[in-house]
């Protein structure tokens, strides 16, 4: 009997409710996906490649990096390396959601994790209020809606991007730095840890400029990231 009640309760927030809870984010990511598609097209990707990257990589910042670095003729290993570091933030989001999916077998957790994004994490963690676990069908509804929306937006942007022959004269090569600025500011505002974040950011500037005299582009990024994150840990301990 108790089992039945739990299931009935979960049914109320099944797949369809997950789709509905995703809707507020759809318009925003439709626009960002469209912008990503335009940049990917002007970086030389075909529509088929744009569809593939939006389905297999499925990460806005990573796709901006991939397209932006292709535009500046970076090596494949440097692009993959940069994407790895930028997407390490998913570790924290995945870890934060893990307690709410303990009741699921590992393969279902893999499926849920593979579609983890900033937006779906935001919706899901908001949904965990007063709950000890999340319904996987609700999560699937949320995830699939966001996934399809993203792929459609990318391909639509790709078709639009066909008309743009010289991306630099439209300032499109600045899309990637602008994306970093947006993510950086949103992170710092959201975390409400101004002082420490600003010190970490200033350290990163100094360290990347200084170490680029000694190391290659990605080497300097790696050193600056690890050292300035360590500085952040030390300052927090010190306070």
């Amino acid at each position: 009997m108790k089992q039945k009640i739990t299931e009935a309760h979960l049914d109320e927030e099944g797949f369809v409710q997950g789709v509905k809870d995703c809707l507020p984010t759809v318009l925003g990511y439709l626009s960002i996906g469209f912008a990503a598609g335009v940049i990917e097209k002007t970086a030389g990707l075909s529509i088929a490649e744009i569809a593939l990257v939006s389905l297999l990589l499925y990460a806005g910042s990573a796709q901006f990096i991939l397209a932006g670095m292709l535009l500046t003729h970076s090596s494949i290993s440097a692009i993959i390396f940069t994407i790895f570091f930028v997407n390490l933030r998913h570790l924290l989001m995945s870890a934060a959601l893990a307690p709410y999916f303990r009741h699921l077998p590992p393969w279902k957790n893999m499926l849920i994790g593979s579609q983890l994004t900033d937006e779906t994490f935001g919706v899901a963690i908001h949904h965990t209020a007063n709950k000890t676990m999340l319904n996987e069908r609700w999560m699937l509804g949320l995830n699939i809606t966001a996934y399809l929306n993203w792929a459609i937006a990318n391909v639509a942007g790709g078709f639009f991007g066909q008309w743009i022959t010289n991306p630099e004269s439209f300032g499109l090569d600045f899309a990637l730095p602008a994306m970093f600025i947006g993510l950086l500011v949103l992170q710092i505002i959201h975390r409400k840890n101004w002082m420490v974040d600003l010190i970490v950011a200033l350290s990163a500037i100094g360290l990347v400029v200084g170490s680029s005299y000694l190391f290659s582009g990605s080497g300097a990024i790696l050193i600056a990231t690890i050292l300035s994150a360590t500085i952040g840990v030390i300052i927090e301990k010190w306070k």
Binding site: I32, I47, L91, R102, N109, S169, A204, T225
Partner: protein, 102 residues
Amino acid sequence: MEIRYEIFLLILGAGIVTLIPRILPLVVLSRFQLPDWARRFLNHIPVAIMMALLAQEIFVPTFHSSKFFAALPAFAVAILTRSLLGTVVVGILAMMVIRHLL
């Protein structure tokens, strides 16, 4: 309308290095907890890497004044509107204007 081999490899490689941090904690952490020091270190990674990548774009190998001046309105829009799309659009427009003025 084709998929080139090296682009396929690039997408696959980028997809794999993105997939691992997405799924690993969800699969593993139902049994273990992330140690506190690791959590605090990872907490600073986003700000550290975004700033490092941005600084490299603007200051390395030399000071790129056009990128620096396009970054200013982008920062202002990010702080005032907290909109990612707005920031990207204003950054692109600022770059376009600067390039046509110079």
